[in-house]
Amino acid sequence: MSTPTRRRLMRDFKRLQSDPPGGISGAPCSDNIMLWNAVIFGPADTPFEDGTFKLALQFDETYPNKPPTVKFVSRMFHPNVYANGELCLDILQNRWSPTYDVAAILTSIQSLLHDPNPNSPANAEAANLYRENRKEYQRRVREIVEASWEC
């Protein structure tokens, strides 16, 4: 593990503690700084409101030149989240910039919950419901919101 990566992650952690953006929290595992656990609270005025969604962030020594692998651990029903919890988010792929940090990643995911992009669906069913049957979409989202409280 290269020291710049470790130093950068420590700084990300400090920043997340001293100046946490609203509705997100995250911390590295106690024995492995390359693996982080994070929680995003469902943004208010969205069907995701009150949900507590857990995520795992896996970094490697290319960080911050390369994005980490980010996955939802909690069950998720969202047009841009795959069944295995992986996300389809531009800044985690081709639009990544080394100036992004953990706080920026988590805030972006939070706003993705707010504004799904049904045009590049990772979950076709969620995307279709989002476009055509908003009521049913909200009902399905509420299901996973309730499930998120349990574990």
Partner: protein, 508 residues
């Protein structure tokens, strides 16, 4: 292969002469030179395409030329002109035209900032209070920034560029590391920052991108060959023309798809054939042709001997292999099925026969295709054997080194003819049989007969007293085989051009 002399040989006419056969790269005979001139003037054959080989130097020079040309017309610096050309895929005319229309849009699209106050990127000491937003170090000794004024520490910039160049193979559009900033890191800046080894890689990538951007260029696929081939034929013609080109390194390949020479079969047919041979649909065909299903439990059964009284191993169902009906209905006619003519069993058998016929047709062509492929491989061994033979000949007869070269050439011709023959079988597989296919098959047969005869001749042990005779025979056969190949290729090239045949797949 060690010598380039074959190409001369390939183009020779049938009035082939004794003295001029022994040409080799290092051996410059006046005869040879004269011959080269003659073959240059010869009219192009129907199956040949125009092309030229470009060395890496040529490619670099062509880029430099285009860049200074455009820089001169538009009054831009070389490096900006290069950037613009890359974003226009080296289409000079379109670039100049668009630039004249609206230079601003063009520059914006290519992510170029024209700012004369800061002509170069900044590499130097940081201002007080600077923090690098990649590593968040506030005490770097040196910082770097582009015209967009996004500064980062030197080490982070170097890491970033190295990562982009080495891991992602990016060269044309490496953007400023700042999120959302779309200024391209220009070549002079890359030069200032990365290590020489990485810079070398960066330049390689630029050359590679140049060749990939242009439709009329393709790298020679031979390992360690740095040449590209320039062929101006539009790609839309590749369904009727097989654009076989030959690199200066001797490698012959198809300009359309990059595979080895596959004349006379067009690229689309080659792709279909390879897919057919690769997937296991033929395994399924085999199963359907050689097996039957148990009438009760549907297990697949292959009858590999014995009488027609079958007992399914799995469900113990007893049936007749001939009529597939239950054995109990056979009554007393043991081992002699008289229920054969019944409609239901006839239908079942018809379906089976059809599938068997289609399989056999495929296998007919595939076996011949594979056989020539295999033989061509064996010919490589023949090559080594031939070299020994040539040495032996020099020792045992009064022939000079140059005079025994005919053997090597014979092997070369043999190999290329086998390659051609091989693809004629894929070609024939997709032909819908009509009167026109006969001519093709005749040509195919003639070539095959000639090839086999030459092959046999080459395998023969050398008898000292018969060397002169053998030499004459091999020479004659070689010329003949090569002319047969020419006839076949000429004819198929013409046929494809005039849409003579019907194929069993839809041509695009």
């Amino acid at each position: 292969m060690s010598s380039d002399s074959e190409d001369n040989f390939m183009e020779e006419d049938s009035d082939y002469e004794f003295d001029s056969d022994g040409s080799d790269m290092d051996y410059e005979e006046p005869n040879d030179l004269a011959f080269a001139e003659v073959s240059d003037k010869k009219p192009k054959k129907a199956y040949e395409v125009d092309f030229s080989v470009q060395s890496l130097q040529d490619i670099k020079a062509a880029q430099a030329n285009a860049i200074s040309h455009v820089a001169g017309i538009l009054g831009l610096s070389q490096d900006k002109a290069a950037q613009l050309l890359r974003s226009f895929k080296w289409n000079k005319e379109r670039l100049v035209e668009r630039y004249m229309d609206s230079s601003e849009d063009v520059l914006k699209e290519a992510c170029i900032v024209l700012d004369d106050t800061k002509t170069t990127s900044y590499v130097g000491k940081p201002r007080p209070g600077f923090t690098c937003s990649i590593c968040f170090d506030d005490t770097p000794s040196k910082v770097v920034g582009l015209r967009c004024s996004h500064l980062f520490c030197f080490d982070c910039y170097r890491h970033y560029l190295t990562q982009k160049i080495v891991e992602e193979g990016e060269c044309r559009r490496i953007l400023c590391p700042e999120s959302g900033c779309s200024i391209i890191v220009d070549q002079p800046t890359v030069q200032k920052i990365v290590e020489p080894k990485i810079l070398e890689r960066f330049r390689q990538l630029l050359d590679r991108a140049y060749v990939e951007d242009l439709d009329n260029l393709r790298w020679c696929p031979a390992p360690n060959c740095e040449n590209a081939v320039d062929c101006r034929l539009p790609h839309s013609t590749f369904d009727t023309v097989v654009p076989t080109v030959q690199c200066a390194c001797g490698n012959k390949f198809c300009f359309g798809c990059g595979l080895g020479d596959h004349q006379p079969a067009p690229c689309q047919l080659v792709k279909l054939w390879q897919k057919k041979c690769a997937d296991d649909s033929e395994t399924a065909n085999w199963i359907s042709a050689h097996t039957k299903e148990c009438g009760k439990c549907q297990s697949t059964i292959e009858k590999n001997g014995g009488c027609n009284h079958m007992t399914c191993r799995k469900c113990k169902y007893e049936f007749c292999w001939v009529c597939m009906g239950p054995w109990s209905e056979h009554g007393t006619s043991w081992y002699n099925c008289n229920r054969y003519e019944e409609v239901s069993s006839t239908d079942a058998r018809d379906a089976q026969a059809k599938s068997r016929a289609s399989l056999e047709r495929y296998l007919h062509y595939y076996n011949r295709f594979a056989n020539h492929e295999q033989s061509a491989k064996l010919d490589r061994d023949l090559y080594n054997k031939t070299e020994k033979k040539m040495e032996e000949m020099q020792r045992t007869s009064d022939l000079s080194w140059i005079e025994v070269q005919f053997l090597k050439k014979a092997v070369d011709v043999l190999t290329s003819c086998r390659m051609t023959l091989r693809w004629t079988y894929a070609f024939a597989f997709y032909l819908v049989k009509d009167n026109m296919t006969e001519l093709f098959e005749d040509n195919q047969r003639d070539l095959e007969v000639a090839v086999e005869a030459l092959s046999e001749l080459l395998e023969k042990p050398i008898e000292r007293e018969k060397i002169a005779e053998l030499r004459q025979q091999v020479l004659d056969k070689t010329v003949y085989v090569d002319s047969r190949r020419e006839v076949l290729l000429e004819d198929t090239a013409k046929g494809l051009g005039e849409d003579r045949w019907e194929f069993s797949f839809k041509r695009t």
